[in-house]
């Protein structure tokens, strides 16, 4: 195998991209941002990172089960968000 086959462009780009996103996320502790701005930066970078892993590295869309896999991932994500925000609503925000 030559270098180009060993290190395919997509993987290298995905890796560089994930490092850049990490550096951007780190910016929230380096620069003095408001809580709201910081959280928006973190939400955007974290979900973009997850997307890079899912599509570039986990090959989520390559087989004939693409539809089932994406449905499953979106459903799990829905459950996760309902669990987290539902908990926050009932345990924290509901009392403020």
């Amino acid at each position: 195998m030559n270098m180009k086959q060993l290190f395919p462009r997509g993987h290298v780009m995905g890796f560089i991209f994930s490092m850049v996103l990490t550096a951007v996320a780190l910016g929230v502790v380096v620069y003095d941002l408001s809580f709201k701005t910081g959280m928006i930066v973190l939400l955007v970078t974290a979900f973009m990172q997850a997307g890079v892993q899912l599509v570039m590295f986990m090959h989520a869309g390559e087989s004939e089960d693409k539809k089932a896999i994406y449905t499953n991932v979106y459903y799990a994500l829905f459950i996760a968000l309902v669990t987290i925000f539902g908990t926050l609503l009932t345990m924290i925000w509901g009392y403020q």
Partner: protein, 198 residues
């Protein structure tokens, strides 16, 4: 067994394809597991009692080392699967062994970090915050520990049996697990450490 040669080896039989789909469904359950831990963390993050708050105990350097080690290991296992698809067993083995070494480095740093927390008075029983913090981090760490042994057995099996529809399928599923742990870590890095230090 019907083998479809137009697909990568790990997808080449119906059983293989279904095992990969099944593992994705398992990962969906893992997402739900970590969601409950994150939900509990966000609920208890301010319940610090007489113990420290996050900003008192979090340090950027070890966390950044852990993040870079895990992100790089996710990259190298991706390269390992790519090498596997090109049929290069040796390149695949090298990338898998690098991945395991980086994973061990991550775990070593995390164990050092836990020891440090206990040492500075942020052990498991100190407050609701330290309990859920160490439970969340520990659950991820336990997954990485399991992943290291799993990966080791994959490497040994590929060494012994070569690249077959079975071993490539196992290696691919293992790579899904490893990437998933990286995704969970990204959320811990962002919403536990960075948010806590902000």
């Amino acid at each position: 067994m019907k083998i479809d040669n137009s697909l990568p080896l790990e997808y080449s039989t119906e059983e293989n394809r279904l095992k990969i789909l099944g593992f994705w469904i398992f990962l969906g359950a893992e997402i739900a597991l970590f969601a409950t831990l994150f939900a509990t963390y966000f609920t208890l993050v301010n319940r610090t009692g007489n113990g420290p708050i996050g900003a008192d105990i979090f340090e950027v350097t070890p966390v950044l080392i852990e993040t870079i080690l895990l992100l790089t290991s996710s990259f190298t296992i991706g390269l390992g699967i790519n090498a596997m698809r090109h049929g290069s067993k040796n390149a695949m083995m090298v990338f898998f062994i690098i991945t395991l070494a980086l994973g061990a480095g991550f775990l070593g740093t995390e164990i050092f970090e836990f020891k440090h927390y206990v040492h500075i008075g942020a052990g498991l029983q100190v407050s609701a915050f330290t309990s859920i913090l160490l439970t969340l981090l520990g659950t991820h760490g336990a997954h990485v520990t399991l992943g290291l042994f799993w990966g080791l057995f994959i490497v040994l099996q590929v060494k012994k049996r070569g690249l077959t529809p079975e071993t490539t399928n196992k290696a691919f599923i293992y790579s899904l697990y490893w990437h998933f742990l990286d995704v969970v870590w990204i959320f811990i890095f962002s919403f536990v450490y960075l948010k806590g230090m902000m």
